[in-house]
Symmetry: C2
Amino acid sequence: MTVPQRVSIVTLGVADLAASTAFYESLGWKKSTSSQDTITFFQMQGSVFGLYEHHALADDAKVSPEPFVGGVRGFRGVTFALNVDSVDAVDAMYAEWVAAGATPMVEPHTAFWGGHSSYVADPDGHLWELAFNPYAEFDDAGNLVLAPAED
Amino acid sequence: MTVPQRVSIVTLGVADLAASTAFYESLGWKKSTSSQDTITFFQMQGSVFGLYEHHALADDAKVSPEPFVGGVRGFRGVTFALNVDSVDAVDAMYAEWVAAGATPMVEPHTAFWGGHSSYVADPDGHLWELAFNPYAEFDDAGNLVLAPAED
């Protein structure tokens, strides 16, 4: 297959590399020694690639669907979801992100789809959904596991 | 650890869900049966999380660093990298993305960091870097493997 079904790297553009690096490290994350003065890398685990309508996605994070114009209220059309395996884990994780300096966007709540969801923004306004999905499973590595692909 | 070092889902906001779903399927990707009428999921493999200066990242994709205002030339401050294991694989993959309707942004070339890099944009202008990094390794699952985390 010429195009592997894969995301190898997600790179965020940030205003202040040192500050953003410090922010993620303050969550307890360890950066890779592949990092350089001009770029920071963290080894991540598996991911899922989703498509969702622009306005619906903005509404989920309670931001304007208007084009991104700086700050945390404009919408880039991209969110990152970090899933954990319980309601309590979401609440604890949300508190830790906010304590690390993330902007609270949507408090943890029962989402319309039955899960427990919240949103925070990193120093550049990149949106992270912190969530528990009772209908999803994790593999041993902590990757979210979906139903199999269609034949 | 309260905050696992993990990206569970990357979700793109798209203008036309059916068209964008068809675009990715035309790459040969198989969507998960977890998909619904309002959302499309593809099971992906591991990812790497990076931080890179906003203007440098825009320059890499040859787009304006100005805030995203629609189309493919505005910059959202986010790119997705899909890495493969040879120069030829990049060239073939680039051609397949373009054949599928992606907008060519940067032709495959030898990048300043020694790899083979190119950029395309999906139907909503989301930027994908298609690349080969001769200094990086893959695990058996095709995930990009970085040097270990710092102690």
